[in-house]
Symmetry: C2
Subunit: 118 residues, 2 copies
DNA sequence: CGGTATCCCTGCGGATACTG
DNA sequence: CAGTATCCGCAGGGATACCG
């Protein structure tokens, strides 16, 4: 019987759990679609994320090496974010999931409603 | 500026948020790797999921039409689970993510540690 | 065997206010 | 502009007990 927790605490689960939070994937595909963006640009693009959670999400992605953060010593301050190479290699897989979701969400929503009527 | 919330409450986010929970992807790839499985088999394969959460996860996947649940009128009862066709089409994308995680987790973990020393 | 039913707790993430 | 700091509510999920 095949399983998927090689060592007890599985690094794959660790990595994937990061992407499974509410905003990470959205931030990544937004950065991929628009290239380098300022903090405020990302915030405008993803309207319903709070400033706090956008900061937290970006910092986590940065510390994982998926996003690069560049601070310019200007007044007012300017901070730019872009994907790293590692972050870029993740994009196709996220796009794959998004594409699948787009293709199948009608089927899924229908099926879900059916069962709700029970 | 490209964004990703077509209608305000985006079905893509809805669908993906389901897969982003703690156990769904794990259950799906386990079922894919082993074919039809009984409840207890899944539980043995994914050791650290509670009975409650395994039930909840399977029921959600069933109501979304990704997993099929078959109950046999026997004593003691037997319940078998397998992927549906729709569920099957999702597998390659999950495998893609898992593959990426396996390839890149060393880089990620290193990067993460560097930043923690700060 | 394959579940429910309860209770409970952690921690994700929102709201708001303040700052270099 | 791009953040911290603080507080707090809620839902995801664990532990335990019981059931057809």
């Amino acid at each position: 019987m095949k399983n998927f927790h090689p060592t007890g605490n599985c690094p794959v689960r660790d990595v994937l759990s990061r992407l499974g939070d509410k905003w990470s994937m959205l931030v990544l595909i937004t950065l991929n679609a628009n290239g380098t963006m300022r903090f405020s640009d990302i915030h405008k693009t993803i309207e319903d994320v709070s400033q706090r959670m956008l900061t937290v999400t970006l910092r986590t992605l940065e510390s994982d090496g998926l996003v690069e953060r560049k601070v310019y010593a200007e007044v007012p301050p300017r901070v730019e974010y872009c994907l790293t190479d590692t972050g870029g290699t993740l994009i196709p897989h996220i796009e794959g999931l998004v594409g699948w979701a787009l293709e199948n969400m009608d089927t899924i929503l229908d099926h879900r409603q059916m069962n709700q009527q029970h």
